[in-house]
Assembly symmetry: C2
Amino acid sequence: MTKNKIRLGVYLFPMPVVLIGANVNGKPNFETLAYVGMVESKLPLIAISSYETHYTNRGIRENGTFSVNTPSEGMVEVTDYCGITSGKEVDKSEVFDVFYGELKTAPMITHAPLNLECKVVKTIKIKEIVDIEEGHDLFIGKVEGAYADDYYLTEELPDITKLKPFVYSRNKYWKVGEFIENAFTVGKNYKKE
Amino acid sequence: MTKNKIRLGVYLFPMPVVLIGANVNGKPNFETLAYVGMVESKLPLIAISSYETHYTNRGIRENGTFSVNTPSEGMVEVTDYCGITSGKEVDKSEVFDVFYGELKTAPMITHAPLNLECKVVKTIKIKEIVDIEEGHDLFIGKVEGAYADDYYLTEELPDITKLKPFVYSRNKYWKVGEFIENAFTVGKNYKKE
């Protein structure tokens, strides 16, 4: 075996980039996250993991709601800005034009191509499940509403080639590249030698 | 506001693609997942969400371990194959050359460029937190070991340009594209007009 054991790290390649919105003391705040994943398709449910001391977490706890906004490539600078600044020190309520959906308390970014408003159905404090003094809050949110401009849709569904989202990996942002193959299809060609 | 409310769906753009490994009745089995996300950096912890009736889930419950294998672009066909076949009907134990790490029960794919062996620290049955009859199991795993060939490393860390992972979105696989900007850096240029 030629494999080497390497030192541990955050080794998920790549991760999606989203802007999480929450109202803190009644004012919109946004933070950038790559620790995000789908957990259920039926409702649907999405999980985000945000460090417990973050300003955004206060708002999520306060209202039991948050938004997930997908930025496009063109928004990379402002997206990164929301990741390197804290609402504790900088008022980010004026950074974006904001709208609200049916949950009323999850601020969404008008100019982001896709917005989800989510209601928290479960919170897991990571420090309560493993031996660390401080850690992330894992919020599982039920997506209650999804919003997009017509411009980003193909046959009424968001189209990745129009959204132009980007991904994160090891302190760098990357574009989504070329189409490779159709899922649930190309695997039918597989034959074990 | 020009936003339209659109019908709900799985709207995370894009999602990483991984092969989850587990021993079921002592034999390796693999399934393809895009419902995966980091949840903690310190240990680190990774969460995967796999439908409760899946064959792989049996093995994860049986051993309390699983592996996360990052396939490269060249593995797209076999990766999709593992997503469209169930271990209930097809023996996938011979699909890959397999190795084991310190956990002993989490089979890893030798030819995948990056492998993580994980110990389950928390399982959340989605049907117990929302009103559905059947759903996903969310497994939070502590990464206990990470493995890679030298070929895929730059300064001893996995390099996305060498791994060549791919992503999933709406029934299609896509390459990771060009570098855009440095994270934690480009946002310093942001100035609100």
